[in-house]
Symmetry: C2
Subunit: 507 residues, 2 copies
């Protein structure tokens, strides 16, 4: 643990970004027992009656054995799924009777907020393999919800403004709203955040609203819900803007390992896969990127384990917060991932995630195929092909609906349509038809108004999307897409059902 | 999960205590996806393309096997410690190939903030066995630091006052201070919080300071650091005061299961043990007690698992907070405790904790014996016998020190002494002597002044204590107590070392 933390001291001069910290961080005192703990670390010869930890001989757990998939084959996920109970496995053991009981004892004892040394070595090895950020440091987390909300708490308090995609996975902005953060939506297209829209907001910020936004929350790969992935060009441009306007980038990247080739590629193989993208972390010369990774999508969400990568100054405040709140993650998942990476090796891990992305790619292509067959021919909906993640963002061509109309009372003010009402009708029609699919309105970032460019289309009128996942089973997808096709057809054909006569409400 | 949560609806009329909630709780919105999830629960026949969860066939974990201590014997902890590698064990298995793969799958998947249904059943069974609170409900936590800080965040914001023992385990008050809570110390004696001191503070509260304190943080058994345990009479009185002055009692009870008989009892046996104490929870007719339990002391702290028991209205807000922050605990420790209670049975669990308390009782008596032999004869320090917990609170008889004096410049203002300086010297002398032991000053509750009764002795002058733990090994205790005896003797004998001449600083 000590050398991991101490490595921080060797980091190069990152920018001093402590002015981004919330007041709560700055007034948080350190644990008064910390001096005692420090004395104990620095003087291991002392007889200590200081620590109130249960004695390890009293832990009733002798051994934990994990039977996990083997990653020895070229396409281990495929073997794991197709061979069922006879798929090759590997045993990983944490035991007090083993040659080295250190990991077992450490995983069962109290620890330091930064995480178990073995787990930190594991995620540091992953960072070194997939990113270029040798001077950033890792902190273990309870998965991305925990990591994101802790980082938001660290950076934002009442009156602060944060930026995010105009369609965003809702719980995260809501968590920050509760402690007073306000959200500013950035216009997106099929490639994600539009850099010049980001710059427009920052350049034209009206200081009468308050302090200019200082945090950008971004999901660069397979964004939830839109499935978009930022190109390297956009990433670079966004990073430059962040430097110019002094933003912290919170890079939430749970789908980083789930990258897909275009559907046209024949005979997918691990050899021909496109490279993993360049993360904001790898671009981060200033130390203004706080990257958030998770084991949820590549291992299992129930582990509740992930990690934050940041410049050391942010880590220091994060760890102090962790020590005074959730404390470090459970020793079991931390031990498991470190045993797993030891057992598989980095090469095995790489085979697993490349094989996993092939599996999800097959699912994506399966859903796309169904969409092409069952929905697209009607001409009432279309999709972009997601290059990462778990979601298909289905655009509904509402303008073809017989009852699509501009709401008369809204003509003056931006010319709003009845898109929102029609999408709600469509959502309900899907339910009646037997299909649950998520309407875009659920993902609209909660905000004040007035951030849009003059005369731009209202977000409600651009919420003509449905989010469908390809993470589920093929049976579910095969059952769902025909329903969507049928419901769309009926919904667009019949102008009479639940008719909203917009013109009748003219003032 | 559903029936556990639904059970809340059957609860009797608890008092409506929502006015205790912090503003952040009241403005926290619910997850906008929740409606979608609800529709999915209520309509299981729907084909769902809504959930972005990784498919369970992709989790690379086939089986987790825990080899744990057997609890079949009368004194299982003793067997576990003395028999070493040949101690009887029991295998607990979570597996996707088992007869019922439900627990395994649930432990690896996303879940609900309240916790895994199996883990909730487990802790509810423990609550029912050891407390009388059939209408309170349980919520899984990441251990007591997580639980306490979440509850403090739920109840306290800037300008709120909370009450606690004047000597308290420091990190918890510090966590609440960071979000603006101020602490008010309650005078204690060897029996813990003095009820009439609690009432004095509330009855005489000066409203110019702000709102009267509305939360009492209490550690009723084996309090850390003083080792005190509240008698049933005091508990009842404190509960009445809480009703009269509308307090929420946060009952932090990690040492509940570590109860000890007086040292005189010959031939300790599980038969003659005193009963477990009546918790504040069991007295709670109003729903104003939020009880916090942990598996850290009875299983292992590295599990990071515990539970909160509260009235359903508080649970609802807690769970919403959990869903928007740390999320539910890792599935591994949750699966383990539910498998363990199934495997051991409630009777086995009871044997384990009764055997564990005997083990700690032996350690306590061992440390007491050492104290009597190595320290007490000098007449320079004394102890009360702790009835619970892990700590011995050693009173140092500073008034016998040749340099003990009233500080001349302080005579007017309460007659303060040089106790603080002498205790610091003693702490440093212990370190030089080779012993790390924690001085009381580290545990002084951080507060403003002016809560004390007129003319009462300043906290610094009552901080003449050292905290020693008996949770460690007998070797450590055997090495430590002679050092303490020797250092005390030398420190009290030699008036010249590092002399502070208080009189020379007279103004």
């Amino acid at each position: 643990m000590m050398n991991v933390v101490t490595a921080a001291a060797e980091a190069p001069k990152f920018a001093d970004l402590t002015h981004h910290l919330a007041p709560e961080v700055l007034v948080r005192k350190t644990n008064p027992l910390k001096d005692i703990i420090r004395i104990s670390w620095e003087n291991p010869h002392l007889v200590s009656l200081a620590n109130g930890d249960p004695h390890h001989s009293l832990y009733p757990i002798r051994r934990v054995e994990y039977e996990v998939a083997s990653a020895a084959d070229e396409d281990p996920v495929s073997a794991w799924r197709s061979l069922g109970a006879s798929a090759p496995t590997q045993l990983l053991t944490s035991s007090r009777d083993a040659d080295s009981p250190r990991l077992h004892q450490a995983s069962l004892a109290y620890g330091h907020g930064v995480g178990l040394p073995d787990a930190l070595r594991t995620v540091t090895a992953l960072n070194n393999a997939y990113h270029t950020a040798p001077h950033h440091v890792a902190t273990m987390t309870l998965g991305n919800a925990d990591a994101i909300t802790k980082v938001f708490r660290m950076l934002g308090s009442a009156g602060d403004y944060f930026l995010a995609d105009e369609f965003t996975f809702g719980p995260m902005p809501i968590a920050a709203e509760a402690h007073g953060v306000k959200w500013v939506p950035v216009r997106i297209d099929s490639g994600g955040i539009i850099p010049k829209e980001l710059e427009r907001i920052l350049a034209n910020w009206d200081s009468r609203r308050g302090k200019r936004p200082h945090v950008l929350y971004a999901v660069p790969c397979g964004q939830n819900p839109t499935g978009s992935t930022l190109s390297l060009e956009r990433r670079k441009r966004i990073y430059e803007i962040s430097q110019k306007y002094d933003l912290i980038i919170v890079e939430d990247d749970p789908y980083y390992f789930l990258q897909y080739d275009p559907p046209s590629t024949e005979a997918h193989s691990t050899q021909t896969q496109k490279p993993f993208p360049v993360s904001f972390l790898s671009l981060d010369v200033d130390g203004r990127v706080i990257r958030i990774d998770s084991f949820s999508k590549i291992m299992a969400p129930g582990l509740r384990l992930g990690w934050i990568t940041s410049q050391p100054a942010f880590q220091q405040h994060l760890v102090r917060f962790i020590d005074l709140s959730s404390q470090q993650p459970s020793g079991f998942p931390q031990a498991l991932v470190s045993l797993l990476l030891d057992g598989w090796g980095l090469a095995g891990f790489d085979r697993w995630v490349r094989s996993l992305r092939l599996d999800y790619q097959r699912r994506r292509d399966f859903l796309l195929g169904l969409f092409q067959r069952e929905v697209a021919p009607g001409g009432l909906a279309s999709v972009d092909v997601p290059e990462a993640g778990m979601f298909l963002w289905v655009r509904v061509h509402l303008e073809k609906h017989p009852r699509f109309t501009r709401k008369a009372e809204e003509v003056v003010e931006g010319g709003r349509t009845n898109a929102r009402e029609l999408m709600q009708e469509l959502f309900e029609a899907c339910i009646r038809g037997g299909l649950l699919i998520v309407p875009a309105t659920v993902f609209v970032l909660p905000t004040e108004t007035g951030y849009e460019e003059e005369g731009s289309v209202h977000i409600d009128d651009r919420s003509n999307f449905l989010r469908a996942t390809f993470a589920g089973s093929e049976e579910t997808m095969a059952a769902g897409m025909p329903i969507l096709g049928k419901v769309l057809k009926e919904f667009f054909a019949d102008p009479s059902t639940a008719r909203i006569d917009a013109t009748s409400t003219v003032a």
